[in-house]
Subunit: 512 residues, 2 copies
Amino acid sequence: MVETTRRARGGGGAARRAARSAVSFETARFIERNIPNFEVLTEEALQIIETNAETILEEVGVNFPDNPPALQRWRDAGADVQGDRVRIPRGLARKLCETAPATFTQHARNTARNVEIGGNNLVLAPVYGPPFVRDAAGGRRYATMADFRKFVKLGYMSKWLHHSGGTVCEPTDVAVNKRHLDMLHAHMTLSDKPFMGSVTEPSRAQDSVDMAGILFGKDFVQQNTVMTSLININSPMTFDDVMMGALEVYAQNNQACIVSPFVVGGAMAPVSVAGTLTQVLAEGLAGIAYSQLCKPGAPVILGAFVTSIDMNSGAPTFGTPEASHITYGMGQLARRLKLPYRSAGSFCGSKLPDAQAAYETANSLNMGLLAGVNFMLHACGWLEGGLVSSFEKFVMDADQLGALHHFARGVAVDENAQAMDAIREVGPGGHFLGCAHTQANFKEAFWKSDLLDYKPFETWEDEGARDTQTLAAARIEKMLGDYQQPALDPAIAEALDAFVAERKAAEPDSFM
Amino acid sequence: MVETTRRARGGGGAARRAARSAVSFETARFIERNIPNFEVLTEEALQIIETNAETILEEVGVNFPDNPPALQRWRDAGADVQGDRVRIPRGLARKLCETAPATFTQHARNTARNVEIGGNNLVLAPVYGPPFVRDAAGGRRYATMADFRKFVKLGYMSKWLHHSGGTVCEPTDVAVNKRHLDMLHAHMTLSDKPFMGSVTEPSRAQDSVDMAGILFGKDFVQQNTVMTSLININSPMTFDDVMMGALEVYAQNNQACIVSPFVVGGAMAPVSVAGTLTQVLAEGLAGIAYSQLCKPGAPVILGAFVTSIDMNSGAPTFGTPEASHITYGMGQLARRLKLPYRSAGSFCGSKLPDAQAAYETANSLNMGLLAGVNFMLHACGWLEGGLVSSFEKFVMDADQLGALHHFARGVAVDENAQAMDAIREVGPGGHFLGCAHTQANFKEAFWKSDLLDYKPFETWEDEGARDTQTLAAARIEKMLGDYQQPALDPAIAEALDAFVAERKAAEPDSFM
């Protein structure tokens, strides 16, 4: 725990109202990679895929159903529009993508927690979307708003998590048309990390922008990006009008979107890696281009959510080598487009936070780091193919994210790191535990898990022979016990409360 | 299960005796990487580390205690020998390493299971050395010869495991001076994959060579490498006379050794990555050079077993980012020496085959593949910092090795892989499950686990809500039930039995 002083931000009336000290908890700065990217595709392969993606856009095209304004935008830009189908001349989508920024800042209300998205950076955000939650004590059950608030608190207390995320679980006890208000309220008041907006209706995107205006000040929001929201593409090559409506709201308000094909390879894309990459690139190009048609220069992230399918059961599979190929390959393609890249996460198919879950998740997290991902949604807490947000897995994965931070630092070779004096001092047959170099450096030398067990067998047995899930359950209790809400100007808090109450009163509950 | 015909090998009387069909089980060919290596060190860093390693060898030197013949070899080669200390002039060790082959073949008695060690290849071998075993049914206990045989059978039945290994667990119910005979006998008769020899005494290395002579034919063994054995260096910079005696036996009989510093960073090496790399390189250079002094051209592998230490408990830690840095860095240094490289494995500190074990193991396995490791000892079954061979984790890890095989294939971009016809056929809004390309390719498209659970939640729950360990226990029973001993010429089997009986009768049991 560290004492920080909350500074007034540059813009916005809200920000100027008060500057007072508050209890905060340490959060690592976003990862700035000092390591190379791993590149699985050759130059020849990249060119083939890029050429084929343009061929798909030109010959097959993409659908923008039920969306006359979008079709008109495409027509005006020079595309061939027939019915819902938009065929994009070779090179046009790529050209339109050029106005998207290569990097942008997403502001947090605690300015120390602003994140830079793009370049060599990696920003880590929690699981998004599951309708169920699971913990060891209560098993698997539908998620509620109380669960949601617990996850936001855990995210706030997680040192290696830079972002509070969005729908960390789907609060099924709140009406579908109102839950976005409670979710945003939780992110804004229980955490001071950056967060995501609602995308389930354009009006909910507008609510998100309005609430951000209360939190940051309206002018500040128009001038700065304070939300990054998830816009999925219905693969293959279909752009849902609701999602596109939300994208439009965000783009026109200078807020960022992740434009992300959602692909289970073999079902929504070809059963081959190169074919899937081609389709995902085509979809990404069309989606990013559309965001720039809505507002040139709007901040945007090229996403790729890709899994393979188990051809026996039809279930999606995670942490697989084919998903890795695609994630590495899309990283290369995104860098050639100079676009921030979203992929990877704590993906797993397992029903429990067990060894299967951890193998699959570690495969994906490691790949995400080395693939040059810039924004990793689902970086902790994902379980059961995304149907479940797991409390224990949330803190287990969040702990592993520390290893990514340390690995990304690369290898120092300054004189202290060379340690020649230590080797000379200790010599053959000695040991380094007490030498001067070790004493001077051991505290910072190695990443240290805050969760995993390294104790001697006998100690571990005396303490109850706890497995990782059991250790995680204890850590959750500790974190929630230590949690303290970050300070917020009471006037802002009241205004947020009032906005939520007013919007809830304006229409009847809907659970559809 | 596949029917294979056992062919007579080129050399050796044993091989010529019979060629008859036998039941065998499918084993994947060793991995031939079609992907780049990940390189964490810059050229400048590599040069600093190489220069410093030579400085260590020249100024500090290495110890060869209690070993006058070794000291004489070094003196004759031009080193400065004072007492046990050998100071090696700059460039001499590197020069001596040049006679070591860049790649070599380790022969198996089933020639289809020969492995090529070096180059772009990766050979996977099981856990080595633990005095304990664990399974869900019996808990943690001292290992016995019965456990050992079970592991050899599981290794034989594991499709993604290329090698039968050596001391898959330490059979503590057999006398220390005799257990190597039973272990070799098990590898030779219960499996037909390549295996390792004994290193605990030079006489036991000679027994290994003699038993290999019975299995392969004496002449064949002199002309071909049939064993790869593990020679640890006592870091820092001490070369044990027993290990060096075993190395000498193997080198002079054309058998391969892995010369491997065994380092817990912070204890046996400096607390920094660059310092540890410097020391490990110096030790490796001295050890490989010594193997070439024993016999120029002897096949050898440069090893690096490196973990970091938990500075609170003093326990070694596994799957950490610093261990990854070192493993990647040593891969680069080994390739610059044109030497085969051994590192990584199913390392973990966990007491149970739980999520901690799987995170740590997956971190290490992924790193091993991308680091360019050529021989991965401990690729499955390691638990509790190497104190325990876990039956369940053996099959869990062995299943994950399949993912390494598929990832290493890289990304095909031939016309079929491009799948343009499929994308054209399906079009926007369709699905690929039934299309011609999917039907033609789905069987080979994706790696499929033989262990992990992808079933719907309800099915999984109806089947008992099994976690990975429980699934693995069931798989062990199945594998051992299906196991059939590979055919062996009865005359060879009798000769091996007789050799073991004779050597056991020749001296009293020792448990020291």
